[in-house]
């Protein structure tokens, strides 16, 4: 018998979910994590009186207690829903394009987290486009429903007429570049910038995002509410780990996987950085395919994986300032948890600046204790100030210059945000700076990528085949689906389901063999 039925490499969202679902489904599972805590991106860290959320801005897919959505079901199935204190957010976000000379901001719009109110707000700001707004939001809603319900069914039938009759909007708009759809519906540039602000959560400008992704995002967040969890995403990670352990799972922290050992293209075992070898039937890798196939696997990268990677491009990383401020959110002028501060209505300008270490033009400020007062000590504020950025420029810096470059850029980021929230700097009590290289260090991802590969249209799962060249090796994480919290929890869960099914099949095969031998 093998040491374990399954070994999960990495305790990020997908790894934790997969491990927990596997163990609870009866598979003897070992979870390996090179860091000292569970969560990957979904962690927190402490500085002074503050516990900073590393990555979660707005959790999607939860729904409310009254009308729950898919994540509640998944968390219930994983045995952790009753441990989470969910905080609903009141606003989707605020978008500000600050004025240059101390005048009123050129754009300053806050979108409420409610479909009806969202429509009303947009129309109030842009009355000339009221019909377009109605039409656009209706399209987002209907298209989302097609994506959730009809499209998977139509794909199952393999019948084009079914697709045509049930997914007319998807056919017309689903894979169209978001930019084209925005241009088709709206003329006002401000409005386009405001309504597309969630592009940051994908990391590509609207011209490169298929419209289904952008539409689902705004519709789902508005309909099912953005949420947070008390204690941050670490609370979810810790609860998952606890559920995994309670079901009998084994975990090793500070223990990276060093090799995936195979025989005849079949997974046999995993060797840890400390030299221990554990045999198993299945490996679920929560780390990048680059690391998994090119570095962990003990044979040359299989052609199938190599081909798949050739059409991918590394996704973005981020530069983040974690700020503990000695003032309340009100004193700071915070009126929504999530804020996008933009210099330009054209997202492509922002995307350009993401390539190097240049003055930021697009920052995102999240105030965690705006909706959840427990998130910071009384009288203080817990803030993350983020700007998407690729890592290359940081990798090119001589190590001696790294620290200074980090502070210089952090200073600029604060300057950028201070045009809307002027009192940040003078209230700093704690600050931690994370560059793309910091992400690389803690996530072990190439380029410090936070969402996996670049998520352009052809990157989507529907353009991909499952890489099955190595029997028993499964990928689960942001690299083989969408990045972000909900998608990675979901892929962890579905991968576990697939593995459990396989385990069941081999077990019944073995039983049958035993019977026929008897």
């Amino acid at each position: 018998m093998t040491d374990f039925d399954a070994i999960v490499i990495g305790a990020g969202n997908a790894g934790l979910t997969a491990a927990t679902a596997l163990q609870r489904g009866g598979a003897r599972t070992l979870l390996l994590e090179r860091h000292n805590i569970p969560g990957g991106c979904a962690t927190s860290f402490i500085r002074g009186e503050f516990e900073f959320e590393v990555a979660l801005h707005q959790l999607s897919g939860m729904g409310t207690e009254k009308s729950p959505f898919i994540m509640r079901k998944i968390f219930t199935d994983l045995g952790i829903m009753d441990q989470l204190n969910v905080v609903e957010e009141r606003e989707l976000y605020r978008v500000v394009l600050p004025s240059i000379e101390n005048k009123d901001h050129e754009i300053d719009v806050t979108l409420p987290a409610n479909i009806k109110a969202l429509k009303k707000t947009l129309i109030a700001h842009y009355p000339d486009e009221s019909e377009n707004i109605e039409a656009y939001l209706t399209l987002c809603e209907k298209l989302s429903l097609e994506c959730f319900m009809m499209l998977p069914r139509a794909q199952k039938t393999g019948d084009q007429t079914v697709l045509e009759s049930t997914c007319p909007l998807y056919i017309q708009y689903g894979l169209t570049p978001s930019k084209d759809v925005l241009n088709e519906f709206f003329t006002n540039k401000d409005l386009k910038a405001v309504i597309a602000a969630y592009w940051c959560y994908i990391g590509l400008p609207p011209k490169d995002i298929p419209f289904c992704d952008l539409a689902v995002m705004i519709y789902a967040y508005a309909a099912f509410k953005p949420c947070h969890v008390q204690g941050g995403s670490q609370a979810i990670s810790s609860a998952l780990l606890e559920s995994f352990l309670a079901a009998g799972g084994k975990v090793l922290f500070n223990t990276g996987a060093e090799k995936i050992l195979s025989e005849d293209n079949q997974v046999k075992a995993v060797q840890t950085e400390h030299g221990d070898i554990f045999s198993c039937e299945h490996v679920i890798s929560n780390t990048s395919p680059l690391h998994t196939f090119n570095e962990l696997l003990d044979i040359p990268t299989p052609q199938q994986a190599s081909d798949d990677m050739k059409s991918r491009r590394l996704g973005t990383s981020a530069f983040v300032l974690y700020l503990g401020l000695d003032c309340t959110p009100e004193e700071l002028g915070v009126t929504a948890a999530s804020n996008f501060i933009i210099d330009d209505r054209d997202e492509e300008v922002a995307f350009e600046t993401m390539q190097g270490i240049v003055d930021p033009t697009h920052t995102m400020l999240t105030c965690y204790n705006h909706d959840d007062p427990t998130f910071a000590p009384p009288g203080k504020s817990s803030i993350s100030l983020l700007c998407l950025q690729y890592s290359q420029a940081w990798q090119d810096l001589p190590v001696e210059e790294y620290a200074q470059a980090k502070y210089d850029f952090a200073d600029k980021l604060i300057d950028h945000a201070e045009r809307v929230f002027p009192n940040i700097r003078k209230n700093i009590e704690e600050v931690e700076v994370a560059t793309p290289l910091t992400m690389m260090r803690y996530l072990n991802t190439p380029g410090g990528a936070i969402y996996g590969f670049q998520q352009n249209t052809q990157d989507a799962a529907m353009f991909r085949e499952r890489i099955n060249a190595i029997q028993g090796l499964h990928m689960a994480g942001s690299w083989n689906g969408m990045g972000g919290f909900q998608p990675t929890y979901m892929i962890g869960e579905s991968t576990a389901r697939a593995v459990l099914k396989k385990l069941k099949n081999t077990q019944s095969e073995i039983k049958q063999q035993e019977l026929s031998h008897a």
């Binding site: 990268t301 990677m309 790294y402 700097r425 700093i428 249209t457 353009f463």
Partner: protein, 404 residues
């Protein structure tokens, strides 16, 4: 075209943009790679900035005072990683078969990439300090963590008006910061920064780096030093006493606004930290203008609030260790000894660096029984509910079973 042909996707050709996406995919394949050329890049990039372990060799042992030596460590094979003045490394030692470690601030400046200096003062009832002072000689080999910690000048908000309150060996990071400021001033000519060092020692003979610091003070306008001896000999003519509010007011003035603009760094023994922090609080200096270096586990946990009433320091409990491979071990430990220390003495270990409750590397899960977590333990909000503790500052208060 490996991916587009599967049957379930064929119908998607009806979708506008599907073919374009496929074409784009083909285009990307032509210019893309399978990233094999990047093999090892992530690990190398991380290792140049934040290596997990350094291989060090003692190149020199410098006698500072009767109770203090500076050990100079050179790297074997690699260049030492950069650090920020004030940071520490955790030095792993093997003392008669016991594997343990202690964090020490780097007392040399970041510009010096050839070696790290660690300045070791004897701790009367200590363990590792005696070994480092009495047994270590040039040529001895060690492992350490990379530089760590958050006790350093952060230009984002610390400002240019700095005050360093050092007690005893707490001078080590101060020395690094001072030399760093000199080097920075030389290269950037940014002379606005100033530093007032208040350096308290017990005895005149204990003062570390006395001559060097006096010389530096003479040569550099940005540096002011106030020397303080708490147990002077009769012939001592300098300042005596403690770093109290009165002294600070005398040295720094009483203008609250000016005080608030300064950044205070405190490093020394735990009692020194507590005392200085209190004095600053009394002067109404806000917490955000004070940085306190961590300094190991509390020496007498039994005196702290929250300690179980009926438990005395010399009580012993049994510790059971569950390993992931299914094996178990067991030993006895005193309730006033940090869990990590008793684990190490009995041949178990957990990753560690700060040994002060801050970095969370030494996290272990208590599956049965209870531990006392002092305020040094910077636990995450969900840790206690699930039994996770930082073993370097956790004290077993009943028979316990832990998972490592």
């Amino acid at each position: 075209m490996p991916n587009s042909s599967s049957a379930k996707n064929n119908i998607l050709h009806a979708v506008k943009g599907y073919q374009e996406a496929l074409d784009h995919q083909q285009e990307l394949i032509k210019t893309g790679t399978d990233f094999n050329e990047q093999k090892g890049q992530v690990a190398n990039t991380i290792a140049t900035l934040h290596p997990k372990r350094l291989q060090l060799v003692v190149s020199e042992v410098i006698e500072d005072t009767a109770s203090t030596k500076t050990l100079r460590f050179k790297a074997e094979g690699i260049v030492l990683p950069p650090f920020q003045a004030g940071q520490y490394i955790n030095l792993f030692v093997n003392i008669e078969g016991t594997e343990t470690a202690r964090p020490y601030a780097i007392s040399s400046a970041p510009q010096q990439r050839g070696y790290y200096d660690l300045t070791i003062k004897r701790v009367a009832d200590g363990y590792v300090s005696h070994y480092l002072l009495d047994d270590v000689k040039a040529g001895d080999r060690f492992q350490s963590t990379g530089p760590m910690g958050t006790f350093y000048h952060n230009p984002l908000f610390h400002g240019d008006d700095l005050v360093f309150l050092a007690g005893g060996s707490g001078i080590a990071p101060a020395r690094s910061m001072i030399i760093n400021m000199i080097e920075n001033t030389l290269t950037h000519r940014k002379a606005a920064q100033k530093l007032h060092l208040v350096y308290a020692s017990s005895y005149e003979a204990d003062v570390i780096y006395e001559n060097e610091l006096k010389q530096l003070e003479k040569e550099h306008d940005f540096l002011t030093i106030t020397w303080l001896i708490s147990r002077p000999t009769e012939k001592y003519t300098g300042r005596t006493g403690h770093v109290n509010a009165e002294l600070l007011t005398e040295l720094l003035g009483s203008d609250l606004e000016k005080l608030q603009r300064k950044m205070f760094y405190i490093c020394g023994p735990t009692s020194f930290h507590d005392f200085c922090a209190q004095q600053l609080e009394q002067l109404k200096v806000k917490a955000r203008r004070v940085r306190i270096e961590c300094n190991g586990p509390p020496k007498h946990p039994e005196t702290l609030t929250g300690w179980p009433q009926d438990l005395i320091a010399s009580d012993k409990v049994s510790v059971t260790i569950n390993k992931a491979d299914g094996t178990q071990g067991q030993f006895e430990a005193r309730v006033d000894e940090p869990l990590l220390n008793s684990m190490e003495r009995n041949g178990y270990s957990a990753e560690n660096a700060c040994r002060s409750g801050e970095c969370s590397l030494c996290r272990v899960k208590v599956v049965k029984g209870s531990v006392f977590n002092p305020q040094e333990a910077r636990l995450r909000s969900t840790d206690e509910a699930y039994g996770w503790c930082h073993s370097c500052v956790a004290f077993p208060t009943s028979d316990i079973e832990i998972m490592v």
